[in-house]
C-alpha cells in the first residue's frame, strides 16, 4: 500500500468532488480529485526528470503541498517539507542533508535557500505549479510500499533535528485503518492551518483525500484569519495545536453563535491546559471536540479522546470521568499501547512509565537509526499511565523528568496544578542543577491580567495539592513562555534563561 493508491481511489470513487480550494472557486482555483490525481502524476514526471533524490518543500500551505506529496510518490522519492522558520544556519544544515534534490521554494524564502549546497536545485513554487501543468503524466505504477513517502525533521527542541522516516506502508496503513473511505458528506471541508512540515499537516492531506473532505488551506496560522476563513468557507472540521486554540477563542466575535458550520475541532501536538478546552466547549457548544495524541514517528494519531468523553467530563460528577478531560483518550483499534518500566517490563494500570506502541502505522525510524524493536514495539520516550478503563494520560517527555533527591518528578503534573490557579494564564516547570538535591524544581508563570499573587501564594497552592517535593522552590514571573510555532514548549531555552537569571541573583 502507498499514498498514491489513496488518491487513485478517491479519483475513481468521487473524482468530480472538489478536493482542494474555495467553495465557489473556478477550475483554476478548486481542484477536483480527478484533477489532483492527474496533476500529481504530472508532478511525478516533472520530479523524475530532474534526478531529484528528494522532493523538498520550503513553503507555506498551498496546492504545492499535496502535489509534491503525491508527485513524490509517483517519482519514487521522499517528500521533505522543511521548517522555513529555522534560523539560517540550522536551515542550511538541514538542506545539506537532502541532496541531491529539488527544493520547491516560496519566493519569500528564496534568499534563504539560494546559498544551498551543490546538488540542490531551487524551483520557485509558482513556477513549479505552472511547469507541472505542461508536463506529461507519470505512469500509474504503484511505488514500493517500503519506499520512503515522507521525511520529517522533528522540531529538535532537545538538540539537532532528527530525520523521521515514514514509509508508504506506514502512512497508508494509518489512513485506511482510521478513516472510512468517502466517509465525509459532500458539504464537509477541513481547514488546514498547521504547517506542512508538521506530521499533522501531512496526515491532514492524506486523511481528507481518503474521506473525500474538501481541503481549505491557511498559508500560515493567524487567529483572525483562521476565524474569517472558517466562516467564509463554511469549514466543518479542523485540527489545531493547543497554543492555536487559545488564540482562536480570543479572536471569536463576541456574542451570537460563532462558526455555526463548524462540527468538529480536534487538537493535539502538545499538552492542552484543561481551562482552555473547558472555555472552548463553553464558547462553541455545538462543536465536537477531539483530543488526538500521536507522534511524527507513529504517522500521526494513536489515541483519541472523543466528543462524548469531552461532554461527559465537563458535565459529570464522577471524578474519574471528569479527570479524563486531561487524558488523550483510548488507543485507536489498530494500535496497541503499553506502559513499561525502565527495564521494559509492562506496568499495571495506574502506574506511570514509558509509553510503548505497536501497529502497522508505527514507523519508529530515523535516517541514521531504528528505534522500533524487532517485535514491532516502539518506545515513544513519552511518559504516561493508563487508568482502569484504559484511558491514556500523557505526562510529558521522559527527557524532561526532574530528578530531585532520587525522586522522579514530572513537570506536567505541577504545570497542570499551577494552570488551574485562577490567576495563572500559563506555566512551565523545569529542573535546575542543585548541589544538595541534584535538581531543584523551578516554575515560570505567566499571570492573567489584573492578578498579582506572590510566589508564596502559588507555592502554597501547589503544596496543598501535591507532595511537598513537587513544590517549586522558585517561581519566576514572565510575560510569555517560549514556544515553537507548532506549540511545543522550548524547555531547553527556558531552562537556560532561568539558570542565567538565578546565577545573576546569587550573592
Amino acid at each position: 500500500m502507498d499514498v498514491a493508491l489513496l488518491l487513485r481511489m478517491a479519483a475513481e470513487g468521487f473524482g468530480g468532488r472538489v478536493a482542494l480550494g474555495p467553495r465557489h472557486g473556478g477550475p483554476a482555483e478548486a481542484l477536483t480529485y480527478e484533477r489532483l490525481y492527474e496533476l500529481s502524476r504530472r508532478a511525478g514526471r516533472w520530479l523524475a526528470g530532474r534526478d531529484a533524490g528528494h522532493a523538498v518543500l520550503v513553503g507555506v500551505n498551498s496546492p504545492a503541498v499535496p502535489l509534491l506529496l503525491f508527485g513524490a510518490a509517483f517519482a519514487r522519492v521522499p517528500m521533505v517539507p522543511l521548517n522555513y522558520r529555522l534560523a539560517d544556519e540550522r536551515l542550511a544544515a538541514v538542506l545539506r542533508r537532502v541532496v541531491p534534490g529539488v527544493a520547491v521554494t516560496d519566493s519569500a524564502f528564496a534568499e534563504r535557500v539560494r546559498t544551498s549546497p551543490d546538488g540542490l536545485v531551487q524551483a520557485d513554487t509558482e513556477t513549479f505549479l505552472k511547469a507541472i501543468a505542461e508536463t506529461a503524466p507519470a505512469d500509474e505504477d504503484a511505488p514500493d510500499p517500503e519506499g520512503i513517502a515522507v521525511l520529517l525533521f522533528t522540531s529538535g527542541t532537545t538538540g539537532e533535528p532528527k530525520a523521521a522516516v515514514l514509509r508508504h506502508r506506514h502512512l497508508a496503513s494509518y489512513v485506511v485503518s482510521t478513516v472510512e473511505f468517502m466517509g465525509a458528506d459532500e458539504d464537509e471541508a477541513t481547514l488546514v492551518s498547521v504547517p506542512p512540515y508538521h506530521i499533522a499537516g501531512v496526515s491532514a492531506v492524506l486523511t481528507s483525500v481518503y474521506a473525500g473532505r474538501r481541503i481549505v488551506q491557511l498559508p500560515s496560522f493567524d487567529p483572525r484569519e483562521w476565524v474569517r476563513l472558517a466562516a467564509e468557507e463554511r469549514v466543518t472540521h479542523a485540527m489545531v495545536v493547543p497554543t492555536m486554540l487559545g488564540r482562536i477563542l480570543d479572536a471569536l466575535p463576541a456574542g451570537g453563535r460563532p462558526l455555526p458550520a463548524l462540527r468538529a475541532l480536534s487538537y493535539g501536538g502538545g499538552r492542552m491546559p484543561v481551562p482552555v478546552i473547558e472555555r472552548a466547549m463553553r464558547l462553541l457548544p455545538h462543536v465536537d471536540f477531539v483530543n488526538a495524541y500521536g507522534l511524527t514517528e507513529t504517522s500521526s494519531t494513536i489515541a483519541v479522546l472523543g466528543p462524548d468523553d469531552h461532554r461527559a467530563a465537563l458535565g459529570g460528577d464522577d471524578q474519574d470521568v471528569r479527570r479524563r478531560l486531561g487524558s488523550v483518550g483510548v488507543p485507536v483499534p489498530s494500535v496497541e499501547v503499553e506502559i513499561r518500566d525502565t527495564s521494559g517490563r509492562p506496568l499495571p494500570a495506574g502506574q506511570a512509565g514509558e509509553i510503548w506502541v505497536r501497529g502497522e502505522q508505527v514507523a519508529g525510524e530515523y535516517l541514521d537509526r531504528r528505534a522500533i524493536r524487532p517485535d514491532g514495539w516502539f518506545p515513544t520516550r513519552d511518559e504516561g499511565r493508563l487508568d482502569d478503563a484504559g484511558y491514556l494520560f500523557v505526562e510529558g517527555r521522559l527527557d524532561d523528568v526532574i530528578v530531585r533527591g532520587g525522586e522522579n518528578i514530572s513537570p506536567g503534573e505541577i504545570e497542570d496544578v499551577l494552570a488551574a490557579h485562577p490567576a495563572v494564564a500559563d506555566a512551565a516547570v523545569v529542573g535546575l542543577p542543585d548541589t544538595e538535591w541534584g535538581e531543584r524544581v523551578v516554575a515560570a508563570v505567566v499571570l492573567r491580567d489584573g492578578h498579582a499573587p506572590d510566589a508564596a501564594e502559588l507555592q502554597d497552592w501547589v503544596r496543598g495539592r501535591l507532595r511537598s517535593s513537587r513544590t517549586p522552590e522558585h517561581v519566576a514571573f514572565r510575560t510569555g513562555l517560549p514556544y515553537t510555532d507548532t506549540g511545543k514548549l522550548l524547555r531547553r531555552e527556558l531552562r537556560a534563561e532561568l539558570l542565567g537569571e538565578q546565577e545573576e541573583s546569587m550573592p
Binding site: 470513487g13 482510521t178 477541513t190 468538529a264 477531539v290
Partner: protein, 102 residues
C-alpha cells in the same frame, strides 16, 4: 494462499483489486467471482467472467471480512465478482468511524 498484511491481490475474472489490511497469517482459499484471486501483477486469463452465484460485485473502499474474523481486505478497485472463502461469501465490515483527528 497465505494472506500477508499489505499484499495486493486482483480478481481473475473482473477488474476488482484488494489489499490485505489484517491477517492472522493462515492459509485461505480466497476467491473473487468464484475463481482463486491472483497476485496484483499476475496476468488474468482472457475472457473470464464471474460465476453466476458470485457476481454481486466488490465495492470501492469497502472492507471485507471472513466469518471467522481471520482477515480483512480493503477494495482498492471495484469489480463485478464477489469475494468469498471457497464458497462462503465475505461480509462487508460495519463502519465504526473514529472521530476525525487530523
Amino acid at each position: 494462499m497465505i494472506l500477508r498484511i499489505g499484499s495486493r491481490l486482483r480478481s481473475a475474472v473482473c477488474e476488482a483489486e484488494v489489499v490485505v489490511v489484517r491477517s492472522s497469517g493462515g492459509e485461505v482459499d480466497l476467491r473473487c467471482g468464484g475463481r482463486p484471486m491472483l497476485g496484483i501483477d499476475d496476468p488474468a486469463p482472457e475472457g473470464a467472467a464471474p460465476d453466476s452465484g458470485f457476481a454481486a460485485g466488490v465495492l470501492l473502499g469497502k472492507r471485507y471480512v471472513d466469518a471467522g474474523g481471520g482477515f480483512e481486505l480493503l477494495c482498492t478497485r471495484p469489480g463485478a465478482g464477489s469475494l468469498a472463502v471457497a464458497d462462503e461469501p465475505l461480509g462487508i465490515k460495519d463502519a465504526k468511524p473514529l472521530p476525525s483527528s487530523d
